[in-house]
C-alpha cells in the first residue's frame, strides 16, 4: 500500500516536473493584422502546434513602423520575442552581428530545408549561420488598369524600353487620365522606381561592387536619376501625391483613378481592401508588366526587384520556437495560403497552388530571374536605405538633381563605414 502510494507520488511529481520544464512559451512577434488573408492560418498553425507539443505560442502584433522602432529595445531586454518578422538584408546583418540572433542550424533539418526554395532559405544565412526561416517572396512590377490603358490607346505589350514607358505616360496624360498613382508620403513606394532603374542600368555586378567598395555616385546610378527625372518632367503622378500614403496609392489604383502603379505583388489584395467600394479592380481589368529595359543597360531584362521575407529566431529562443517555424512554413499551410493569393510561397511546389493568373505570372518572373534584388531600403540597412527613400522622393519632387541624389547615397555609405 505504502509502496504504491510512494510510486504514485513520485510518478505525479516527475510528471509535473518534466511537463513544467518541457512546456515552453514561445513569443511570436508579427506584423499581420487579423483581416489579412494569411491570419487564419497563423491561428491554425498555433492551435495545431500547441495541441501536438504542449508548448504555448504567444502571438504579439505590432504595426510596421512601431515594430521597426521598438525591436532594437525589445531584443536587448529580457522580454524579447523568440520569433519575429524580418525582411532580411542590412537590418538582419546588424542584428546577427550584435549577437541577437540564434544559429538554428542544429535544429533545422536538411530534410526540411530541401522543401524550401534554396535562394529564399539562403537569404536567412549570415556568415554561415542560419538565423531564420523564409516565408514568402515578392516582386515589384508595373500594375495597369486595362480599361484606362485601352481608353488612352496604349498597347502594353509594346512597352519594352524606358522610352516606351515615357511615351505611354504622355499618351495616358493626353487622354486626361492620371498616368501613375504613388504614395509619396511613405517614400518607399517611390524608391522602387529609382532603384529598379539601378538594377537595369547597373545589374548585379555593379550592385555588389558598390556594396563592397562604395561608388554609389557612379555614372550608371546618375543615369537612373536622369531617367527618373525624364519621367517626373511629364508630371505623371496624381495631384497631392506627396501627401498620399501607400494605402492611398492602392486605393486610388483600385478605384480606377490612375492607369498604372509601380508596386509589389501585395498590391493585388491591397487595391481591393483600400478601394472606396472594397472591391477594387477585377482580375479581368488588371495586368502587370516588368520594368522596361534602358539603353546600354548592364542588367538583364529578367532581373527582378522584390523581397524575401521571413522569420528570425532570437538568441535565447528554445528549440521549440524553431520547430514551430517549421510547422508554420510547411507545404500544407503554404499551399493553402498560395491558393488564397495571400502571398508567394517559398515551399517548393506551393507556387503551383496559385490560382490567380497575375500572381502566377509574378511567381514565374521570380522563377526566371537570375538576380532577385532585395528592396534597397531593406538590404542597405535602415540608414542608407532611408537615404535612398529620401532622395528618390526628392528626385520625384524635382528638388534635387540626379548627381545630388547619387552623391547623397554615397555620403551616407561613407558615413557608415
Amino acid at each position: 500500500m505504502m509502496k504504491n502510494l510512494l510510486k504514485f507520488i513520485i510518478g505525479s511529481a516527475s510528471l509535473f516536473f518534466f511537463s513544467s520544464v518541457q512546456a515552453d512559451t514561445i513569443k511570436w512577434l508579427h506584423l499581420t493584422g487579423e483581416s489579412s488573408p494569411e491570419y487564419p492560418n497563423f491561428v491554425r498553425a498555433v492551435e495545431e502546434f500547441e495541441a501536438k507539443t504542449g508548448h504555448t505560442v504567444e502571438m504579439m502584433y505590432l504595426e510596421n513602423e512601431s515594430f521597426k522602432a521598438k525591436l532594437p529595445t525589445m531584443l536587448q531586454s529580457d522580454d524579447r520575442p523568440d520569433i519575429f518578422n524580418s525582411w532580411g538584408g542590412g537590418v538582419m546583418y546588424a542584428q546577427a552581428e550584435a549577437g541577437f540572433l540564434r544559429d538554428i542550424s542544429d535544429v533545422v533539418t536538411d530534410e526540411y530545408l530541401s522543401t524550401l526554395s534554396a535562394a529564399a532559405a539562403n537569404a536567412f544565412v549570415y556568415k554561415g549561420q542560419r538565423v531564420g526561416v523564409p516565408r514568402n517572396v515578392s516582386q515589384v512590377t508595373w500594375w495597369y488598369n486595362k480599361d484606362l490603358m485601352n481608353q488612352a490607346g496604349v498597347d502594353v505589350s509594346s512597352i519594352t524600353m524606358w522610352d516606351d514607358l515615357l511615351s505611354a505616360v504622355s499618351q495616358i496624360k493626353s487622354a486626361g487620365i492620371t498616368p501613375i498613382c504613388i504614395g509619396g508620403k511613405d517614400k518607399w513606394p517611390v524608391h522602387f522606381i529609382w532603384t529598379h532603374l539601378h538594377i537595369r542600368n547597373g545589374g548585379e555586378s555593379l550592385f555588389l561592387e558598390s556594396l563592397e567598395n562604395g561608388g554609389w555616385d557612379r555614372p550608371e546610378y546618375i543615369k537612373s536619376g536622369e531617367q527618373m527625372l525624364e519621367l517626373v518632367a511629364l508630371e505623371p503622378f496624381q495631384d497631392g501625391w506627396l501627401s498620399h500614403t501607400w494605402p492611398d496609392q492602392a486605393g486610388f489604383f483600385g478605384d480606377g483613378k490612375c492607369a498604372m502603379a509601380f508596386m509589389g505583388n501585395w498590391m493585388y489584395p491591397a487595391q481591393k481592401s483600400n478601394s472606396a467600394s472594397g472591391e477594387g479592380l477585377g482580375d479581368d481589368n488588371m495586368g502587370i508588366f516588368s520594368m522596361p529595359m534602358t539603353p546600354g543597360a548592364l542588367g538583364d531584362s529578367a532581373d527582378t526587384l522584390g523581397g524575401i521575407n521571413g522569420w528570425l529566431v532570437s538568441k535565447t529562443a528554445p528549440d521549440s520556437a524553431v520547430e514551430f517555424l517549421m510547422h508554420l512554413v510547411s507545404a500544407d499551410i503554404q499551399n493553402e495560403d498560395a491558393a488564397k493569393g495571400a502571398y508567394l510561397p517559398v515551399v517548393k511546389g506551393a507556387d503551383k497552388s496559385i490560382t490567380n493568373p497575375i500572381l502566377a505570372q509574378v511567381a514565374n518572373n521570380i522563377g526566371n530571374s537570375q538576380y532577385h534584388q532585395i528592396f534597397y531600403d531593406q538590404f542597405l540597412g535602415p540608414d542608407i536605405g532611408r537615404v535612398v527613400n529620401d532622395v528618390s522622393t526628392d528626385l520625384a519632387a524635382g528638388i534635387i538633381t540626379a548627381e545630388e541624389a547619387a552623391q547623397q547615397v554615397q555620403e551616407s555609405w561613407e558615413f557608415n563605414q
Partner: protein
C-alpha cells in the same frame, strides 16, 4: 555656536536634505544621467544593438552641421518661434484685452478659443491632415464650391510650412490668451477706475496701464512659447511627417526620423545634445535677463 543656533541650523538643513534627496535622485536618474549618456553616445557610431564600440569622435556633429535637412529644421524652429512671438502672442493679447472684462459672450469666446488647446496634439494633427486633404478635405470642399482646383497644402513644399503655422497658431493661441486673461483679471479695479477718472480711453488704458502691469505674465508666455516651439513634435508627425521632401521637420522630428528610425543612435544622441544646448542656453539667458525681476 551655541546649542540653540546649532539645533535650528540642523533642523533647517535636515528638512532640506530629507526633501531634496528624493527629488534630486529622480532628477539625476531621469534628466542628468540621460543627458550625460547621450553626450557619451554622441561620440560613437551605434545602431542600438549591443554596446557602442565604434568611437568616431566629432564625426556625428560634423555630419549634423553639414546636413541640409538639419539646418532647415533649425530654421523651421526659429520661424515657428518668430510666428509665435510676432503674430500669435500679440493676437492672443489683443483678444484677451477684448474679452477679459465681464462683457456679454466673454465666457463663450474664451471657451471657443481655448477648445483647440485641450485636444491632444496627435488628434490635432490628424484632424488638420483631413481638413487639408486636397481630395476630400474641408479646404478641397471650399475650393470646389467656388469651382477652383483645390490645393494640396501639405503636399506642396511651398505651402506645407504655412499649413503647419496655421495649425500651431490655432492650437496654442488659446492657452496664451488664457494666461493673459488671468493676468488682466488680477489688475486692481482701483487702478483701472483711477485711469478712467483721469479720462483714459480703452486703448490708452490697455497700452499704458494693463500691458505694463501684466508684463511679467507676457514674459512668461513668451518663454513658454519659445520652449514649446523648440520641442514641437507631435503635431508634425501625423500632419506632414516632416514632408514633403523633409521640408517641415522641426529639430525633434528630425531627431526621430534621422536618429531613431534610421537606427543611428550615436548620431541621434548628437542631435539631442545640440537641441539640449540650444534650449538650455535660451532658457538660462532668458531667465537671467528678461525674467530676472519676475
Amino acid at each position: 555656536m551655541n546649542s540653540a543656533k546649532y539645533n535650528a541650523l540642523l533642523s533647517k538643513y535636515s528638512t532640506l536634505v530629507i526633501f531634496i534627496i528624493p527629488a534630486l535622485t529622480i532628477f539625476t536618474m531621469f534628466v542628468v544621467l540621460p543627458i550625460i549618456e547621450a553626450a557619451y553616445y554622441s561620440f560613437y557610431r551605434w545602431d542600438g544593438y549591443g554596446d557602442p564600440n565604434k568611437y568616431v569622435g566629432l564625426k556625428n556633429y560634423k555630419y549634423l552641421f553639414k546636413n541640409k535637412t538639419f539646418i532647415l529644421s533649425l530654421k523651421n524652429n526659429f520661424y515657428i518661434i518668430a510666428i509665435s512671438l510676432f503674430i500669435q502672442l500679440p493676437f492672443a493679447l489683443l483678444v484677451a484685452l477684448m474679452i477679459s472684462d465681464k462683457i456679454r459672450g466673454a465666457n463663450f469666446f474664451r471657451t471657443v478659443f481655448f477648445l483647440p488647446y485641450i485636444l491632444a496634439e496627435i488628434v490635432t494633427g490628424l484632424i488638420w491632415a483631413y481638413i487639408y486633404d486636397g481630395n476630400y478635405g474641408m479646404v478641397a470642399a471650399i475650393w470646389n464650391f467656388f469651382g477652383a482646383d483645390p490645393p494640396h497644402m501639405i503636399a506642396e513644399k511651398e505651402t506645407a510650412m504655412i499649413a503647419l503655422y496655421i495649425v500651431i497658431f490655432w492650437k496654442y493661441f488659446g492657452i496664451h490668451m488664457m494666461i493673459y486673461i488671468a493676468g488682466l483679471q488680477n489688475i486692481s479695479k482701483e487702478v483701472l477706475e483711477a485711469a478712467r477718472v483721469d479720462g483714459a480711453g480703452p486703448i490708452t488704458t490697455a497700452w499704458r496701464i494693463k500691458i505694463p502691469i501684466i508684463l511679467p505674465t507676457i514674459r512668461l508666455s513668451v518663454f513658454l512659447s519659445i520652449l514649446g516651439a523648440l520641442q514641437l513634435f507631435d503635431i508634425i508627425m501625423p500632419l506632414t511627417g516632416g514632408g514633403p521632401s523633409n521640408q517641415t521637420h522641426s529639430m525633434v522630428t528630425y531627431l526621430y526620423y534621422f536618429g531613431v528610425m534610421r537606427m543611428k543612435f550615436g548620431f541621434g544622441s548628437a542631435i539631442g545634445v545640440v537641441i539640449f544646448l540650444i534650449c538650455f542656453t535660451i532658457a538660462i539667458t532668458y531667465q537671467r535677463t528678461l525674467m530676472r525681476k519676475d
